[in-house]
Symmetry: C2
């Protein structure tokens, strides 16, 4: 088998800390007591329930109670904390089915959980919902090296899947910073986007089949599906991006592309956002089929990364914007020539002011780290309000400027000396997908900052015909704001689907869509 280097693509990853104890994270139910209250129709968990679950799981290590649940109750941003007293970690799809059937019959609410790396509070309970973790469903089921079809359990870690595929000359069609912790099932359940979407498209196109357990215990299984199968409604699509609201994904079948043998990365300094857009159009024309990432970052995001990494920026002078371009292809000489010609053309046309191309893998990792470290650098002063939005490209960066201006107008911002609650609003993201990450970096979470940001940001997005969630999902954070992106009929139809599959509302309650 033709082998390609592993881990060629992503350099640094955020360090996730799901099991570490953070006593200071306030309870979600307290922080948001004006927005959410417990649904009294749910049954309270009791000892006989726990005995029943013990009987299903057999293995004692699959059942966690009391204070040991903390790592599962909290999210990695330290923003949300639930109060679950029970975590179940089934080892088979049949166990998941028995658990859900019981919970559904007994009105016990549940929160499905994968790698717990979500960014909108979707994978943690609000009150005392039972957490069902798929971490113990972690087998790779099969791989066909002719077709590229890969099948695995939902709890397989994304990086494990990608390394396995690398050994076979293939690549997982999705990548993101949390790959060392997030699960394959979780990225499908949240329809994650990430760094390879520009090249390989969305999971709605690449996922071929799913195994999922419905609230009543029914096991839906389309894992046998081939690349093309036009025999009826494509039901699996409903689960992609459903955030645990209508069932628990337990298995995934996905089409994987051949791993490119040649990867190049360039980092460019650009004088304005208008120029960034022009460089993007030119890159689609000139780099065409080898373009695999087009990421942009603003100057403040790079300053924070510099502080976080304690390193000097690869480009000597400062520029208002930076662009990271990655190419992936099958012929290194051809790719080098395309990229070098492209960059020379951009410099000559004065669209790009300065640039650097990685000459080896270490430099490649280094350049990526200036994009990939932004999420961690954003939180290093205390915390971050994250907004992950889609906007028409023309308007994309204006949202960062509008947010910064509004925060400054309220006297809340100080980048340097630490006297104000907000460090700065920074912008970066997958320009190739029209996807902006607006991070408002703060020294502490506070209601006063949040009320300046929301609903202002959502209203701004609505006025500019964007989406309030490009890839992170709705979860708890954006549940009440879906109306800024979806119209009344869409919301009505979504509520009907929720009610159709989860009539008792036990699945991931208080989030996403409620019927």
């Amino acid at each position: 088998m033709f082998k390609l280097p592993k881990n060629l693509f992503r350099p640094l990853r955020p360090v996730f800390r799901p099991t570490r104890l953070y006593s200071s994270v306030p309870l979600t139910a307290e922080t948001y007591k004006d927005k959410v209250s417990i649904n009294d129709k749910f049954k309270k968990l009791n000892d006989s329930d726990i005995e029943f679950f013990k009987g299903i799981l057999k293995d004692e290590s699959g059942l966690i109670t009391g204070d040991d649940c903390l790592g599962y109750n909290e999210d990695w941003m330290r923003k949300y904390r639930g109060q679950s007293q029970l975590v179940l970690k089934p080892r088979t799809t049949e166990q998941v089915s028995m658990i859900l059937k019981y919970c559904n019959a007994n009105n016990l609410p549940v929160v499905p959980q994968g790698g717990n790396t979500g960014l909108v509070g979707g994978s943690n309970p609000i009150f005392d919902e039972i957490i069902i973790s798929v971490a113990n469903l972690n087998n790779i089921r099969s791989f066909d090296p002719v077709s590229g079809i890969f099948k695995c359990d939902a709890g397989v870690i994304l990086e494990t899947a990608d390394n396995y595929l690398a050994d076979n000359g293939y690549i997982f069609p999705l990548d993101l910073g949390a790959k060392g912790s997030c699960h394959v099932g979780g990225v499908v359940a949240t329809n994650a986007g990430g760094l390879r979407l520009l090249r390989y498209g969305s999971l709605h196109g690449t996922v071929l089949g799913l195994e999922a357990v419905l609230p009543d215990g029914t096991i839906y299984n389309s894992m046998n599906s081939l690349r093309k199968d036009n025999t009826g409604f494509d039901l699996k699509q409903l689960f992609i991006g459903s955030e645990g609201s209508i069932g628990i994904i337990t298995g995934v079948s996905i089409l994987c592309p051949i791993r490119s043998s040649s990867v190049n990365v360039a980092l460019l300094g650009v004088s304005s956002y208008e120029m960034v857009q022009k460089v993007f159009i030119e890159s689609k024309k000139e780099l065409g089929e080898i373009l695999s990432a087009f990421e942009f970052m603003d100057l403040n995001s790079q300053k924070l990364v510099g502080q976080y990494l304690k390193l000097d920026h690869p480009l000597e002078d400062e520029y208002p914007f930076y662009v990271l371009i990655e190419t992936s292809g099958s012929n290194k000489d051809h790719d080098d020539e395309k990229l070098e010609t492209f960059l020379a053309n951009q410099m000559e046309a004065e669209l790009v002011n300065d640039g650097i191309i990685a000459q080896d893998e270490s430099q490649l990792r280094n350049l990526w780290s200036w994009r990939e470290s932004i999420p961690e650098a954003s939180t290093m002063n205390g915390g971050v309000y994250k907004y992950d939005v889609s906007l028409p490209l023309d308007d994309l960066y204006s949202l960062v400027e509008a947010s910064s201006e509004r925060l400054r107008g309220e006297g809340l911002v100080d980048f340097e000396d630490g006297s104000k609650p907000v460090v700065e609003a920074i912008g970066y993201g997958h320009l190739g997908d029209g996807n902006l990450h607006l991070n408002v970096c703060v020294r502490e979470y506070s209601k006063s900052v949040e009320s300046v940001l929301e609903p202002f940001i959502y209203q701004w997005i609505q006025e500019h015909k964007g989406s309030i969630s490009a890839e992170h999902g709705l979860g708890f954070q954006k549940k009440n704001y879906v109306g800024y992106t979806k119209n009344d009929i869409e919301i009505k139809l979504m509520k009907e689907i929720k009610h159709h599959y989860d009539p008792h509302g036990i699945m991931n309650p208080y989030k996403y869509i409620t019927a």
Copy 2:
């Protein structure tokens, strides 16, 4: 604006004849009287219904009655004929909404129709259902040359859309033989696959938003969606491939890629199906990101095309199998070098016996015609039983051999002299997608031939874990065979969705899935 040549890709297209009168096509209700009977709970169309529709449409030309409905009652294969006495051709989405609302309230069954180029009898009535044609919804709505997002009415002809995109340097991410007749809405409603799926993926990944009218008249609209939008269930996915069973698609928003400036085509002669598979694996590795088609054809299919085109085959000697490879890229020199090196390697490894590369556009069209003319060549002796299946690659061609053997065992086959009802079972298709087209070319349609083929072929596919419909859909032809591909739970869940959206069952009855 950077311009690229139009119509570079497809040479010959089947000649569609939807409005020509074929008095000899028997009524579907007669041919299949053992399989289907009229549902008496439906109301019979009367004069006051017609007056109501006239009031909605205003324009007289949008309402066709009596014998003038013939072209809409028949399919282009001359296999199915319905008995509708009314065709409605609304000009606005609101008119579609008013029509459906009335039909739903009055229990009047309807058949949505696009270009009427389907291959499974899905777009023609069985009895006297009202035909709702979207042919008059034919405006291009918008195109954004930065993002590549194209929006149009459902009735825009695929070729019209692709030519418009070509003028803007872009390409529609789907192509098929019927592009001169089929509609954009129709390809989405049937989840068509076609010739570009290998490169650009399925419509589930490229369609960004839809406008569709539900049976009760509700207008679902997600046309504003951007490349990424993770705010709730992706409801539009249910309509992709729903074959008019839960609503009528009236508008489509789709992400289009940049049109490649360089296109190459090669035709290869290969000594066995095993070698064909090996050449495919090597092509994925060596041609990687520029591979845009990998089609295979067997010898008999090429013999029929030779008779049909009255031409000598481009390759001098005969081979058991032929492979057509297309590459599309942004740099002609690079692409030429990749393709020539690849072919030299295949010849040296003795995987390929002979081959030819098109040197200009005329040769390129000529090579494609040996693949594209197969559907027409298949019918030239009278008719064709078409099976469009997905199978694991190993087993793909064995189905053709098994079918031919079975027909020969019954003494039904004669390729040359015309004394037997069957000419031959031939095989070709999109090998890159695991998609085989098995065409059983006949001199006339007959129950005796059909009963030898069905359910034999469906059982064979089930045993080999394939799909009985890779891209053509279920329609009327395969309605009763869905159980050979989908399991009981999948079918139950599909029936629930059908009932959820179409509780009275007025949408495209007797086909697809019935609740």
